[in-house]
Homo-oligomer: 210 residues x 2
DNA sequence: CGTATACGAAACCGGCGAGTATCGGAAATG
DNA sequence: CATTTCCGATACTCGCCGGTTTCGTATACG
């Protein structure tokens, strides 16, 4: 084994043309797009390759199967995510929540929800995918909400006995329901009315003067 | 056309062995079951026929395609539904809501949610199915909640300015989110905590003495 | 320049499932 | 009993898609 430890050095830098790393990200992004539009079963590898401007062979050289590609693509959504270390801190729960639903974040959340809908029916058959999707799509948002709620509770802004778990899941639940099941768009008005008419009253935050 | 208007009479009562109406209901029920377990793409006509104890020909004699069968099966879920004329009326909003989440109703709702999850990725490509599914699965529950909320508001039990639309969708949204996305079971404790810790506080109902 | 690998494109293979056809038997009419 | 249609079972066709291979070309190393 390892007949020539001459030039190839420690690891990598093998012979021949090196892989183009830009194909990886293009393929993963194309996978997310097609997944959001068509769902897992409606998505074909040819669609992904065409969208990425790549050949099928280039896809299969990197991922052994369609399922592996999708799991990897979903997992990669987690990276460009909201960092819990730099959550908004405006001094009020309402200010923090409003800051969290600003436009670019909302558009990203919308695509994530469609991806979630596209793989829903698979999740019972693919536990690994289910866990990956939850960690990449839902977990970060719910965790952020939980941190904001606990902060507000600890400074006495909410009732002390609020059910943090339920309230942290409230906005993602209502938003996904509206997008996927009711098929109505998520508007800023919708999100703000959710905050002001449902979440804050449920947390016992006294309504500020209009 | 119509060469022999002799015996066949006005309509129906044609020649030969008549259709067995029990096969229709068996096939529709089997369709719902397989749909809830496998999703639309995972479901095959052979699965449905086998589950119903029928042959494929018997299925295709009644429905021209898989899509038509599924649309019909989903639409039929609406029938055995909660009748808005006989909603609970216990005198308090909390009593009405608790009565609405009793066990048999909850089990039915759980299966409906799984059906919803199984057809989610299709709904963008099949608008008719999307409308049918909404009318059969979500609409009745939301409408019931809306009626109970308006009744409570009109007798002064809630704040007068509650957002009925948002609050009526709250329980279905949180329940479907927990079932489909978080993949955790819907327990009676969960539903009651939803009522007591989220919905009633958001509606401004004063908490009764423990 | 020779070798080895990556690339996009396209041909190819194999399995699966929607939909059709056939068969032997059962149930209705006449 | 003859006819017609239904029934469950099964064999069949056919298109699609996951996955593999081939081909001509491009890009690295030595």
């Amino acid at each position: 084994m390892d007949p020539q430890a001459t030039q190839p050095a420690a690891a990598g830098a093998r012979l021949g043309r090196p892989r183009d790393a830009s194909r990886d990200t293009d393929i993963l992004e194309a996978t997310i797009e097609v997944l959001a539009e068509q769902g897992f079963d409606g998505m074909t590898i040819d669609m992904v390759a065409a969208r990425a401007g790549a050949g099928k062979a280039t896809v299969y050289r990197r991922w052994p199967s369609k399922a592996d590609l999708v799991i990897d693509a979903v997992a990669c959504m987690k990276k460009r995510d909201l960092d819990p270390a730099q959550l908004p801190d405006t001094g009020t729960l309402r200010g923090d929540l409003i800051a969290l639903v600003r436009a670019p974040s909302a558009a990203d959340a919308d695509r994530k929800m469609h991806v979630m809908g596209g793989i829903l029916s698979l999740m019972s058959r693919e536990p690994e995918l289910a866990r990956t999707a939850y960690a990449a799509i839902l977990q970060p948002r719910i965790t952020a909400n939980r941190i904001l709620l606990e902060r507000a509770r600890d400074r006495g802004e909410t009732r002390p006995d609020i059910d943090v778990d339920r309230l942290a899941a409230l906005m993602p639940a209502m938003a996904s329901f509206r997008t996927l099941a009711q098929r109505e768009p998520i508007t800023r008005e919708f999100l703000i009315s959710l905050i002001d008419d449902v979440l804050l009253p449920a947390a016992g935050v006294v309504r500020a003067a209009v």
